[in-house]
Structures are given as structure tokens and as C-alpha cells.
């Protein structure tokens, strides 16, 4: 229960960074931190005490394995997060080229 709360605190740190920071790169950092927290929450929900990884070995002794389904979902989610971050970074680089700054309040004022 306390690990779930620490995971929610990590997510809310990322959320605070998305809401309150004015630099585009800081907003991207906040999105990355929120994504890490959500992936961690999935793997925390799949853990079983005294379990082992869901991979068969030729000489295994322990029989109960942790849940394999959330691990498959998180594997896909990590690669999707990489694609999203790459697209955000490309858009941020174009914003810097066009406006000369990373500040989101100034991007509204300079037009044309």
C-alpha cells in the first residue's frame, strides 16, 4: 500500500511539472516522469511475494511465477513512450527555430 502511494507521488510530481513550468523542455521532462510512474504502477500490481520471473529454466525449483500479462502491456507502452517523446522533441526543435525561444508565454506574443 505504501509503495502504491509513493508511485502516485511520483506521478503527481510529473503532473505538477506539466502544469506549472514555462519551458517546453521542462514540460517534456514532466511527461516522461509521469509515463515512468504509470509503467511502474502496472508492474507493482503484478508482483507476487516469493515469485520468480515468468521464464522457464531447465533446472527450476521455485514454481509460482509473477503475473505475465501486465509485463507484456508495459513492454508495448515503453516503446510507445519513446515514439511520443521523439515526436515532441522534433516539434520543440522546430519551435525554437521559428521563435528563437523555448518560453511558452512568448510564443503567443510573437506572431508571423
Amino acid at each position: 500500500m505504501s509503495v502504491y502511494l509513493l508511485c502516485a507521488i511520483l506521478f503527481s510530481i510529473g503532473l505538477y511539472c506539466i502544469l506549472r513550468k514555462r519551458n517546453v523542455i521542462k514540460i517534456i521532462v514532466g511527461i516522461i516522469i509521469a509515463e515512468y510512474a504509470v509503467n511502474l504502477f502496472f508492474i507493482l500490481a503484478a508482483y507476487r511475494m516469493e515469485g520468480r520471473a515468468p521464464i522457464y529454466a531447465p533446472d527450476q525449483q521455485v514454481e509460482n511465477m509473477v503475473d505475465a500479462l501486465p509485463q507484456a502491456l508495459v513492454l508495448t507502452a515503453i516503446v510507445i513512450g519513446l515514439a511520443t517523446t521523439a515526436l515532441l522533441a522534433a516539434i520543440a526543435m522546430r519551435i525554437y527555430e521559428k521563435y528563437g525561444t523555448f518560453d511558452i508565454t512568448k510564443i503567443r506574443e510573437l506572431r508571423g
Binding site: L10, I13, N23, I33, A45, R48, G51, T85
Partner: protein
């Protein structure tokens, strides 16, 4: 599980450093430290597939973000109604945390999952699909549609980046346009 708590507190401290420091390069490196601690946490939670993927993806994110922030650092100051905006954001986050605390009481205790769907995959995964890595059999045999969707998302992201980067209609760099397109 004392090492799990220590790693989570390390991640929280790293995240606070990443969002508060003024230099952009330092905050990108702090986020990569958080990602490395996350990969070690995945190993402790007995998920080696996810740990390998998280480690190499985090290295690639670090390289891409450093390419974006090198030589583009600009300091600036805070203006406007800073105190009121911060208070509203903190009130929203406090509401979110209190509601999530109430919801987490309904989850099963940490370490004793219910496993309604997962136990079927664990029992007969080796027999029906023949792979000893059960996570690979879930991704590519039981749930292969999700992998197809994920390949589509990667394709769309590559098309998106290549279309954002392309320059059309610039008069000074015409020879570079023909070389790029």
C-alpha cells in the same frame, strides 16, 4: 521489501531535482538517472524483459533530448500571478492524491494478486505456444493484435517526425531541399 522503498524514494528525489534545476542539460541528465533507477526496480520486481527494454529506450531518449537542448539554453524569470497559480496547482494535486489514497484501499494487498486472466497464461503457456519465455508468448501469440497496433504507432511516429523536419519553401537552402526530399 526495504530496497523497493529506497529506490522509490531515490526516484522521487531525482524527479524533484529534475524539475527544479534551472539548467536544461542537468534536468535531462536527472531524468535519465530516474530511468536507470526504474530499470533496477523492474529487476527487483522480477520483470527482466521490461528492465532490458526500459534501459535501452532510456538511453535513446537521453541522446535525443541532448540533441534538442544542446546550445539552446535560455534563462528567464517568473512573472505574473505566480503565487495564485501555484496554489491552484497544488490544491488540484492534493485532491488527486487523496482520492487515489481512497481508491488504493480497494486494490488487493501488495504481493498477493488475484490473477484471474493471468493464471491461464501461466498454466498452459508453454504447452500451447511452445515458447519458454511466457511474456514473448503473450505479446506475439495470445495478444498479437496489440503488437500490430504498436507497430502502426511507431510507423506513424516516424512519418510524423520526418514531416515536421522537412523544410519546403525556404529560398536560401534550395540545394539542400533537393538533397533531402
Amino acid at each position: 521489501m526495504i530496497e523497493l522503498h529506497i529506490l522509490l524514494i531515490f526516484m522521487i528525489i531525482g524527479a524533484i531535482i529534475a524539475i527544479e534545476v534551472k539548467d536544461l542539460l542537468s534536468s535531462v541528465i536527472a531524468v535519465s538517472a530516474v530511468g536507470l533507477a526504474l530499470s533496477i526496480t523492474f529487476l527487483i520486481l522480477k520483470a527482466p524483459d521490461v528492465a532490458i527494454t526500459q534501459l535501452v529506450v532510456e538511453i535513446l531518449i537521453l541522446i535525443i533530448l541532448i540533441q534538442a537542448t544542446l546550445k539552446r539554453d535560455l534563462p528567464f524569470s517568473t512573472t505574473g500571478r505566480w503565487f495564485l497559480n501555484t496554489l491552484i496547482a497544488l490544491a488540484f494535486i492534493a485532491t488527486f492524491l487523496s482520492i487515489s489514497y481512497i481508491c488504493f484501499k480497494d486494490l488487493p494487498k501488495f504481493g498477493y494478486p488475484i490473477l484471474k486472466v493471468g493464471s491461464a497464461y501461466l498454466r498452459e503457456g508453454l504447452m500451447k505456444s511452445g515458447a519458454t519465455n511466457l511474456v514473448a508468448s503473450v505479446i506475439l501469440d495470445y495478444r498479437a493484435f496489440d503488437t500490430l497496433g504498436e507497430a502502426t504507432i511507431l510507423f506513424t511516429a516516424v512519418i510524423g517526425v520526418l514531416s515536421v523536419v522537412r523544410r519546403i519553401g525556404r529560398k536560401k537552402v534550395e540545394e539542400k531541399i533537393e538533397e533531402e526530399t
